[in-house]
């Protein structure tokens, strides 16, 4: 593979230099000029995110944070069209025979919320851009989808996109193109979020009130991103308004939320604060079931963002985020600790900040420099006096990065930058919390690593038909001391009881280096005005992973840095897509194929307790994963009925090739991952009834997830024990569900400042008891034992129609 990367690099570099020379050749007939522009609203404020398109040549751009946009065009006459949600669209004629700076003013639409069509991308963007495997959703789209118990949810909405699956309802995180949940880089305003779940896995930690949009990269990942092998979910928060005070919020069955944004110094400094909290603690005791009414669960989160416009060229942004979860259950089955407890308390917290400086150099280059900190702290507490204890862990991510964007000319757009991450992990520290506790304290040594990345990307329009986006990211990773590395005997299972020696490393000393190039490549060939073929290749590397052997990882699962024995995961993906739009861009379609191979996919020997294990390598196998699939996407963007349909056929499998006989039950055969669901279909429709009422429906179907069922049973020591042989060979029944919702919007003709709306949702409209898992139990009381009875059960998490109503307001 190394040779291949080098080969690619050579090709890319030679292409690059050829193109530079090509630029300088005297053969060009027409002169190229730069058209700079600024889109402003009535108040003279730059409008961010507006689409500026030149329909005749099929090109479009989106304005930056300050409302600026830029084209590189050959001389001639153009008609620019500006569109933006909540504003009337506007056209302007430009005669371009020299470099020019123009201003386009747009006017707020009176019927502000009456958008039928959500114009969030320029015309034919899906076809014209060099992006593949990328989906973008705005919060307006997300908010229209039916909800579960009234909570608009970013991650749940993600599951309507092709290539995204989960283990099941309530499972934490999401799986993209056959990857584990920890293989997704989830960024909120550039801050990596290590746990995206509230209430174990039912809701995500992002307050919909504060989110502006999200982009999911499943393939064709820009070189700017690295560190995870499956996908990048880039969530952008709203930017606080510089000149008006705004408030919005909602009251639901499970939780309520509120957002306030206000200028502090008009036109200069503004701030946004959003909070959200649940009242589930009040609901649980009402349920007449002993194991539920003792459950305690609650969460809250606070999102804030400060924007400071220093001048036309400089702006500062500060994002702060805090989230807290508490979940108490009876029993100790989930704690993963070797104690016998009557209840377990789980807590998890995220605390994150980012400071970003945006600077514009001249009219060709801009820069974003950020300092980022993200901390995640899971805690498990055992309250029983005899074993009273507290297990704390934590991951602390410190990052500095600078990204540059440089428009060389009409044909080259460069992205380049550097990033350095210092990650510290406290894998676990167990301390007794009472004098009577039998627990001894265990403190695992901290892990520390430096991950640096440098990248470069060029979006190169070779000619009218062919574009190439090529880039390279180079990652250098070093695990640093203080630390110790066990030296194991060769050819036997690693065991800390039989070691040859221990290597000790001083603070700051490098224990292990890993490094490697990550080429990214997308070739686009336009096959018609509204059709293109795209070919992509990408390599991603991952040095930080979640260690878990449960079907779905708990929020308290352990994070681990790659070390001497645990090699970084490396994934190579190739993709091929055909994109075509119909009926003047009102119907977008695409079909994409991909094949992905990942090395060093982790798997754990059964019965291993991972939480307080000093040497994780003793229970870990690193296998290979392969996933492949086809993703079909059709979207209708205009008309009374809008929506999208996705169908995905995909497989994802893992193989372990262990040299040790102890691993023979899992060795040498591809087994499906827990989230391998070959057929997935999603249909999302929105019907615009009138300016106040619209309806949404969401239908989803997927093959049941793989599961290991007991094959036979045996009787030993008065106990019937089920015997499991082939991992993930069976499947739970297929999953399908229909959700409906009705949105009642405020009357657009009333110009009251206070506006309220309602969302009425019916989740699981035909009340299917979708299997969440199938499990079998042997009967172990004396009478049943004689009959040798074993029974199988289907567990459904949601077994009924779930109606809900949410009240939203803004002023």
């Amino acid at each position: 593979m190394k040779k291949f990367s080098f080969f690619l690099l050579t090709i890319i570099l030679s292409l690059f230099f050829t193109s530079l020379f090509a630029q300088q050749s005297p053969s060009k007939k027409k002169k190229v000029f730069i058209l700079n522009g600024e889109v402003k609203d009535e108040a003279g404020k730059g409008v961010e995110g507006a689409t500026v398109s030149i329909e005749d040549i099929g090109r479009g751009v989106v304005t930056n944070q300050d409302g600026y946009f830029k084209f590189e065009l050959t001389e001639g006459v153009y008609i620019l069209k500006v569109t933006y949600v909540g504003f009337y669209s506007k056209s302007k004629r430009v005669e371009l025979y020299s470099n020019q700076l123009i201003q386009i003013d747009i006017v707020k639409s009176v019927k502000e919320l009456q958008e039928v069509e959500i114009v969030d991308q320029s015309k034919d963007k899906n076809v014209n851009s060099t992006q593949t495997g990328t989906s973008r959703m705005t919060i307006n789209t997300i908010k229209k989808l039916p909800t579960l118990l009234g909570e608009v949810d970013v991650i749940r909405s993600l599951q309507t996109l092709p290539g995204v699956t989960t283990v099941g309802e309530g499972a934490s995180g999401f799986n993209v193109r056959g990857g584990n949940i920890d293989q997704n880089l989830v960024l909120m305003d550039d801050i990596p979020i290590f746990n995206t779940s509230h209430l174990l896995g039912f809701y995500s930690v992002f307050n919909p009130e504060a989110v502006r949009d999200m982009t999911l990269y499943r393939g064709g990942t820009p070189a700017q991103f690295g560190g995870r092998t499956s996908s990048v979910l880039d969530i952008k928060l709203k930017e606080p308004d510089l000149d008006t005070f705004r408030a919005s919020g909602g009251i639901g069955i499970l939780a309520s939320r509120l957002l306030l944004e206000t200028p502090i110094v008009r036109e200069k400094v503004s701030i946004l604060v959003a909070g959200r909290g649940s009242y589930t603690d009040v609901l649980f005791p009402l349920i007449n079931n002993s194991s539920i009414n003792k459950t305690k669960a609650s969460y809250y989160d606070i999102t804030s963002k400060l924007r400071w416009k220093l001048n036309d060229k400089n702006a500062l942004f500060f994002t702060g985020y805090f989230s807290n979860d508490v979940f108490k259950i009876t029993g100790d089955s989930l704690s993963g600790l070797e104690v016998n407890a009557t209840s377990t308390l789980f807590k998890w917290q995220t605390q994150a900040t980012a400071l970003r400086w945006n600077h514009i150099f001249g009219n060709k280059m801009s820069m974003n420099a950020s300092i980022i900190n993200s901390q995640y702290k899971p805690i498990i507490e055992i309250p029983d006096v005899d074993f009273a204890s507290k297990l704390e862990a934590g991951i602390n991510h410190n990052q500095f990065k600078t990204d540059f964007l440089y428009f060389l000319n009409a044909r080259h757009k460069f992205d380049f930058g550097v990033s350095a991450i210092l990650t510290k992990i406290q894998p676990g520290s167990l301390l007794p919390t009472s004098d009577l506790s039998a627990i001894n304290s265990v403190v695992l040594p901290n892990e520390k690593a430096l991950e640096t990345g440098i990248y470069f990307n060029d979006e190169w329009q070779i000619n009218k038909k062919v574009s190439l986006s090529y880039g390279l990211r180079y990652a250098l990773y070093g695990l640093m001391g203080e630390g110790r590395v066990f030296q194991y005997e060769d050819n036997i299972l690693k065991d800390t009881a039989i070691i040859k020696g221990i290597l000790n490393y001083k603070n700051g000393e490098i224990i292990k280096w890993y490094q490697g190039p990550e080429p990214r490549l997308t070739l686009k060939i336009q096959t018609g005005d509204d059709a293109s073929v795209k070919l992509g290749y990408q390599r991603m590397q991952q040095f930080t992973q979640l260690i878990s052997n449960t079907t779905s990882a708990l929020p308290t699962a352990r994070w681990k840095m790659s070390d001497t024995y645990i090699k970084p995961q490396i994934a190579d993906q190739i993709s091929l897509g055909y994109f075509r739009n119909f009926k003047d861009n009102s119907i977008e379609t695409s079909v994409e194929f991909y094949y992905k191979n990942a090395a060093n996919f982790p798997d754990y020997r059964s019965g291993s307790n991972l939480l307080l294990l000093d040497a994780v390598e003793t229970v870990l196998n690193q296998g290979k994963s392969r996933s492949y699939g086809m993703e079909v996407y059709v979207r209708k963007k205009k008309g009374r009925t809008t929506g999208w349909l996705t169908y995905t056929y995909s497989r994802s499998e893992v193989i372990i090739n262990s040299p040790y006989p102890e691993d023979k039950p899992v060795n040498g055969i591809y087994y499906p991952t827990n989230f391998d669901k070959p057929h997935v279909l999603n249909l999302i429709t929105n019907y615009y009834y009138n300016s106040r009422i619209n309806f949404s429906a969401n239908f989803t179907y997927s093959t049941g997830r793989p599961i290991t069922l007991a094959q036979d049973k045996y009787y030993i020591d008065n106990i019937y024990v089920p015997n499991f042989v082939n991992r993930n060979k069976d499947r739970i029944p297929d999953y399908h569900r229909l959700d409906l919702s009705m949105n009642i919007e405020p009357n657009p003709n009333k110009s009251k400042r206070f506006k309220s709306s309602w969302n009425i949702s019916i989740y699981n409209a035909y009340g299917r008891r979708n299997a969440y898992s199938i499990f079998s139990k042997t009967r172990n009381n004396r009478i049943y034992q004689v009959l040798n009875r074993a029974e199988s059960y289907r567990l459904a998490i949601i077994g009924a129609v779930i109606p809900s109503i949410t009240y939203n307001f803004k002023f």
């Binding site: 099941g168 309530g170 174990l200 609901l283 649980f284 349920i287 079931n289 194991s291 539920i292 989930l334 600790l337 070797e338 104690v339 005899d386 074993f387 039998a438 627990i439 001894n440 449960t550 079907t551 779905s552 708990l554 059964s606 019965g607 307790n609 307080l612 102890e662 039950p665 827990n674 290991t708 094959q711 036979d712 049973k713 045996y714 009787y715 030993i716 020591d717 019937y720 024990v721 089920p722 015997n723 991992r727 008891r769 969440y772 898992s773 199938i774 499990f775 172990n780 004396r782 074993a790 199988s792 059960y793 289907r794 567990l795 459904a796 998490i797 949601i798 077994g799 009924a800 779930i802």
Partner: protein, 345 residues
């Protein structure tokens, strides 16, 4: 309605909205099951050989007779076992008793010529039980009980793994009850026992395990049993405490995880549990079960069952005309014994 409400609610995650389903019978190769034990207690020790059954079969377990079974120690001694009942093999208690510190393994040759052996494991030094305590748990109708716990001082010199078993003996007057329903009414015939007889009660499907991994050297309390508050006389209980190896603990801990699996996605992924018995000529053959080599200690106590203000629930009354027969029945079967239990008063 209540059921619907609890199905609705999300947090059925932990108990769930559960329906019984029928799975089609799997067609699987039968596998050898070894269930044997050797301890430092006086023998005889038993080894049971049987074959596994498909998971949803309701056939009685097929026992394996005619096998040659021996137990060998690390000094080269070989102790043969003789056929006891169908599929059950027994050591000669006069010539063999396990000794702490010595390693033992079982050797099996079945009638079809296959040879199996367990990895040798030592009998670990037994750890004494300091004391037995009980605590009243009020509960609902017919579920009031006493929670019985042991207190143990864990030795700090080594890592220790524990397993407990308990049994209760109660005197039995009636060795057979037969019910006859006819037009004339229902009759209950009671046959007295021919000799003094004790009924043995234990918990089926229960596993009590503990690892000192997180509390080495500390004294700890472990819950062992729940005994019913169905009478007010003192309840005889014998608790056996076993010192087991790490491998043995891991085996039973996995068994415990799999029998208590309730389908949650935060449960560990179920997998084949490897015991310590293997086929000498074909190491790839899956052999189920385990040969337990354990250091044992025991404590016997009487649990006082009197709680002020709460009367014990009594067994359901016999309905019908009770007729005590003159013919007696023998005290036999694996849940009865005519031998006076140790420490009986």
């Amino acid at each position: 309605m209540k059921n619907i409400f609890y199905c609705i609610f999300l947090f059925s995650l932990l108990t769930g909205c559960i329906d019984k389903i029928e799975l089609k019978e799997a067609n699987v190769l039968r596998k050898l099951i070894v269930d044997g034990t050797v301890t430092n207690y006086p023998g005889p020790y038993f080894v049971t050989l049987s074959y596994s059954e498909p998971f949803n079969s309701i056939k009685i377990t097929e026992l394996i007779s005619g096998a040659t079974v021996t137990i060998s120690d690390n000094l080269g001694n070989v102790f043969p076992l003789s056929a006891f009942t169908n599929g059950v093999y027994k050591t000669d208690s006069a010539s063999f008793r396990g000794i702490v510190g010595r390693s033992y393994s079982v050797n099996i040759k079945t009638l079809d010529g296959k040879q199996y052996k367990s990895k040798p494991e030592p009998i670990l030094p037994p750890v004494p039980i300091d004391s037995i305590s009980s605590r009243f748990v009020p509960g609902q109708i017919r579920t009031a009980s006493f929670e019985v716990s042991v207190k143990v001082s864990d030795p700090s010199v080594s890592k220790n793994f524990y397993r407990w078993k308990w049994r209760n003996y109660d005197t039995l007057e009636t060795c057979r009850i037969s019910r006859v329903k006819s037009d004339a009414g229902s009759f209950v015939y009671l046959s007295p026992c021919c000799q003094k007889c004790w009924q043995i009660t234990t918990c089926y499907g229960c596993l009590a395990l503990f690892s000192d991994e997180l509390s080495n050297g500390k004294s700890f309390t472990q819950k062992i049993a729940n005994i019913p508050y169905d009478n007010s006389y003192d309840y005889y209980v014998q608790i056996d405490q076993y010192s087991i190896s790490k491998e043995n603990y891991n085996y039973w801990n996995l068994v415990q995880g799999q029998i208590s699996n309730s389908g949650g996605i935060f449960d560990n992924t179920p997998a084949f549990i490897e015991g310590n018995v293997y086929n000498i000529n074909d190491p790839d053959e899956q052999v189920l079960g385990i040969f337990n080599v354990m250091g044992a200690s025991k404590k016997i106590t009487y649990i006082q069952r009197t709680v002020k203000g709460i009367i014990p629930y009594s067994p359901p009354p016999i309905t019908g005309t009770v007729i005590t027969l003159r013919d007696c029945q023998p005290c036999s079967g694996d849940t009865r014994t005519p031998i006076k239990p140790e420490g009986w008063r």
